[in-house]
């Protein structure tokens, strides 16, 4: 019944035996002990389970772990590097982009993927990109600001009006 899979998670190769019916989200949480990924619904609606699959955000509750064999995953635990918070993490704290924190890891991952693609997204581009992720606490406005904050950190605009 079980199958051996090898997945690169946050840069590290991990091998495990899993039952095919194990959803990716439970593989991450229970086999790899990565608890930043959450479960919030039964119908693929809420997105608190989002992780990056080869850099692309997907709902890990709607994928079997066996499907991730040979692929690369990023979870919230992989956002920071060398003890340094990711700009998105900074942004969420600075702009009060979280309250209960339950949606936050997924939101930040989706935001980081957006910023890879679009260094300077507008408010409506951000709202569109996170529209597969529910947040029940913040009303989203500060999440938008958090992403903009991160964009400004990652991609500082030259100060306007200055000539060189």
């Amino acid at each position: 019944m079980h199958r051996s899979i090898t997945v690169t998670v946050n840069g590290q190769s991990r091998t495990a035996e899993v039952e095919p019916r194990m959803l990716l989200v439970y593989f991450l949480r229970e086999v790899l002990d990565l608890r930043g990924v959450h479960v919030g619904c039964d119908t693929t609606s809420c997105g608190v389970c989002a992780v990056l699959l080869d850099g692309v955000p997907v709902k890990s509750c709607t994928m079997f772990a066996v499907q991730a064999d040979g692929r690369s995953l990023t979870t919230v635990e992989g956002l920071a590097s060398n003890g340094q918070k990711h700009a998105v993490q900074e942004g969420f704290k600075e702009e009060h982009g979280l309250q209960c924190g339950f949606c936050t890891p997924a939101m930040m991952l989706v935001a980081s993927a957006l910023l890879e693609e679009n260094a300077n997204p507008s408010e409506s581009e951000i709202r569109w990109a996170i529209s597969g992720n529910l947040c029940r606490c913040t009303g989203y406005q500060n999440i938008v600001k958090a992403v903009q904050h991160a964009a400004a950190t990652l991609n500082p605009q030259p100060a306007s009006g200055r000539t060189t």
Binding site: E19, R21, R29, L34, R35, G36, V37, H38, V39, G40, C41, D42, T43, S45, C46, V48, T75, V76, E77, L79, A80, K85, Q89, F92, K93, E94, H96, L98, Q99, C100, G101, F102, C103, T104, P105, M108, E123, I126, R127, W128, I130, S131, G132, N133, L134, C135, R136, C137, T138, G139, Y140, Q141, N142, I143, V144
Partner: protein, 784 residues
């Protein structure tokens, strides 16, 4: 638009949240993250019928499945007298059904297994012999003679009526109506909804057979109250129960009551002697726990022709489901619904409320709401707008004319509330200015000529919260005070322990700020600890916007107690009399000799190393705060919507919120609360509802049907504030966590109605779907 406060001290400062670091690292510690050695997993079998007799349950195949440890049924629980439990309103509710199931989704049996997959496999093997009975879905029909009796288990219960409760003065109100030039009526249903925090409920129950100690980790907004209920229900000695509420992924009232899942998991752990984990799925969450609202309301407003309000008459029927399980003060059958006179100087009011049993889930939780103020606020603000149209007066002017004036506070309302403070015109004026109200009206008129529709909706809400003075407010007899314990360690760092439990409101930061403000210890040096009944003082919990009004006051008061002691220590250290000392935040200095001073840190050290002879060592204390009154925050919300005349589709174009919650401890966090609240208000007005078909089948027990808005639909908010401190709160706060959820639904609905009011539309029930708007327009087309 937070106003940056540069005054000394820690109030009014938007410092970043102390709790955020663990959440952004993915290191929150939610219920699902708790795993104990040898832990078992529980899954719940639910009833497919709304009303049916249970003739038998055959769990033999399920029990035989490898990996299944036990199948728990109502019959087994009955042997331990645990098949029924009390609700927070003094009714009873089944833990697992024995005789009948009374709503679709009711808990019928639980499987305890080695893992969750096996537990769910076993559910499919349990055979239940149901004999379907006619379901009672409509609460009005429930009260008809001959309606099927739902609670035939209760001695003396001969019909489906739960309560009848009145407030105000019937006679005075009749007189007011007799004198009125006009009576305006609004009939409306505040739909059944659900708080639906993104984390569902769950628990890990660990009853140690050797020590008889029960450690129960659970998603609870009120761990102390839950422990007491558990002690009473299960007959366990209270000191042997430890309830730990870890990080909570949102609550909004959903996580106040005791649910069957908690009880069965605890009972199973007790019987089996191993920890048992139960994590609710979303369907279970929406179908069985903590519904809210579901009030059928008829409001009548008596007015003079020139727009003076004379009286208010309200008749309300509450659809309670099969058990009366409202989480609310026990003396008040419909909570604080009688705040329904709102922001208006209403000479007379009379409120009649009834509760009915139906074949639906029990609950009646205060969903982001101080016990039914939400329904009340909605009704009065809808009535005011309807009255304005009928009288041909601008809704703004009608409000202005009838507001309780600033010089009338403290104001005693016709239903008996004593409003603490307010400046309703101030908030309204600011909102009008920011929304550019008069320009909007002109634009609306212009656009109508082109066949385009915009609507402007206003709500000037006042709510009552911070329960409460213990003489009036208790839950099952436990008074609604709250508490704080503060200990300053020798190095000047402190730990503050509270009886409440936050779920994202930022207590770890704001309550540290309160103590920082009172004592001068920086917030970073203060650890705020909540949610562990062994290690925090008794309190009633976080809901109904009561944490800052009650526990926040307790925090300020205990800090003041420590400051008093510090003064004695400082006098001793500086060798002066106490009267010669003056306090500025963080230190005592000798009057006239400011360089002779002792900082709070020095004093704390001395409290353990050099305290005055005869004085107890240490610097710690506790305070149980019993508020003298409720607090009465208020707000004006203005919403502008665009409506598609052909399809009824609508969307908000602008949302202006002016909130007055008294003193703001951390404006950033306050604004976060307001934006979250506005979003839930929008959700309520536009999409949230749980409905049932005629057989009582629940439509909407998942997020494909019970809709929560995404960032895409949710409008942008413009926030402003006025500040009218509460005169009786130690630091002038009023509470704000729910204001926008309470007040804004009426603004959204008023806006949509306003867009089509010229066609003759007066009312659209929530949720205001595009179809509902279209139907409303069709309905008046025929008559117009």
């Amino acid at each position: 638009m937070a106003v940056t406060d540069t005054s000394p001290g820690w109030l009014g400062k938007s410092i970043k949240r102390k709790e955020d670091d663990r959440f952004i690292a993915g290191r929150g510690n939610y219920i699902e993250d708790i795993n104990l050695p040898a832990m078992l997993h529980m899954a719940i079998l639910r009833s497919p019928y709304a009303h049916a007799r249970i003739n038998g349950i055959d769990a033999s195949a399920a029990s035989a499945l490898p990996g299944v440890v036990a199948v728990v049924t109502g019959e087994l629980l009955a042997q331990h007298k645990l098949a029924w439990m009390p609700t927070l309103s003094g009714d009873t509710q089944a833990v697992l059904a024995t005789d009948k199931v009374r709503f679709q989704g009711q808990e019928v049996a639980c499987v305890i297994a080695e893992d969750r997959y096996v537990a769910h496999d076993a559910l499919e093997l349990i055979e239940v012999d149901y004999e379907p009975l006619p379901a009672v879905v409509d609460p009005f029909a429930a009260l008809d003679d001959g309606a099927p009796l739902i609670r035939d288990d209760k001695d003396g219960q001969t019909d489906n009526r739960i309560y009848h409760w009145e407030a105000g003065d019937a006679e005075a109100t009749e007189r007011a109506f007799a004198e009125a030039d006009r009576v305006v009526t609004v009939n409306t249903h505040y739909p059944r909804s659900h708080p639906a925090p993104l984390e569902c409920c769950g628990c890990v129950a660990d009853v140690n057979p050797a020590s008889s100690r029960a450690t129960i980790y659970m998603t609870s907004q009120a761990p102390h109250a839950i422990r007491t209920v558990f002690a009473l229900v299960a007959g366990l000695p209270e000191q042997n129960i430890q309830v730990i509420s870890p990080d909570i992924g949102g609550g909004f009232g959903n996580k106040v009551p005791v649910y069957p899942g908690y009880v069965v998991a605890t009972a199973a752990s007790l019987l089996i002697g191993r920890p048992v984990k139960w994590i609710e799925d979303r369907t279970g969450n929406l179908i069985s726990t903590g519904f809210a609202r579901d009030f059928h309301m008829k409001g009548e407003l008596a007015l003079t022709n020139d727009g003076r309000m004379l009286g208010l008459r309200v008749k309300m029927l509450s659809d309670q489901g099969y058990a009366y399980a409202d989480a609310q003060p026990s003396k008040l059958k419909a909570g604080l619904f009688h705040i329904v006179t709102g922001s208006y100087d209403m000479p007379a009011a009379h409120v009649i409320t009834d509760g009915a049993y139906t074949n639906k889930a029990p609950g009646g939780v205060a969903y982001r709401c101080s016990f039914r103020v939400t329904e009340a606020s909605f009704l009065i603000e809808r009535l005011v707008q309807s009255a304005a149209y009928d009288l041909g007066i601008d809704p703004v002017e009608l409000r202005r004319k009838n507001f309780i004036r600033s010089d009338q506070f403290p104001y005693t309302s016709a239903t008996g509330f004593v409003y603490d403070s307010g400046d309703y015109e101030g908030a309204l004026d600011l909102a009008l200015e920011k929304a550019r109200y008069s320009e909007l009206r002109a634009e609306q008129a212009e656009l109508r000529k082109e066949g385009k529709l915009i609507g402007i909706g206003i709500a000037s809400m006042t709510e009552a919260l911070g329960a409460g003075p213990s003489r009036d407010y208790d839950i099952l007899g436990i008074k609604m005070f709250d508490s704080a314990e503060l200990r300053v360690h020798p190095t000047g760092k402190a730990i503050l322990k509270l009886g409440v439990r936050h779920q994202g409101q930022g207590h770890e930061t704001t309550f540290a700020q309160i103590v920082a403000h009172e004592l001068g210890i920086p917030p970073d040096d203060i650890l705020v600890h909540e949610g562990d009944t062994d290690n925090t003082p008794y309190g009633l919990g976080t809901y109904a916007s009561r944490s800052t009004p009650v526990a926040g006051a307790a925090a300020a008061m205990v800090a003041r107690k420590l400051r008093d002691k510090s003064k004695k220590i400082a006098a001793h250290l500086l060798e002066v009399a106490e009267e010669d000392l003056e306090w500025e935040i963080g230190k005592f200095s000798v009057k006239g000799a400011p360089d002779r001073s002792k900082t709070i840190q020095e004093i704390a050290f001395a409290a353990y190393t050099d305290h005055p002879p005869g004085m107890e060592a240490g610097l710690e204390g506790a305070h149980y705060y019993d508020p003298p009154n409720l607090t009465f925050p208020f707000a004006t919300y203005i919403v502008v919507v665009e409506v598609d005349a052909e399809t009824g589709e609508w969307k908000p174009r602008q949302v202006v919120a002016v909130d007055d919650c008294g003193v703001r401890i951390n404006p950033m966090i306050v604004e976060g609360q307001i934006m979250g609240g506005l979003t839930e208000g929008f959700a309520m007005s536009a999409m949230q509802q749980i409905t049932f078909d005629e057989d009582g089948n629940c439509i909407g027990a998942n997020f494909m049907d019970y809709l929560l808005p995404t960032a895409w639909e949710t409008p942008h908010f413009d926030l402003y504030e006025t500040c009218t401190p509460s005169p009786h709160h130690p630091i002038g706060c009023k509470g704000v966590g729910e204001s926008a959820t309470v007040g804004s639904p009426a603004a959204f609905v008023n806006a949509v109605v306003d867009a089509v009011a010229h066609l003759g539309v007066r009312d659209v029930d929530m949720p205001v779907t595009s179809g509902a708007v279209w139907e409303a327009i069709q309905a008046v087309k025929g008559t117009g």
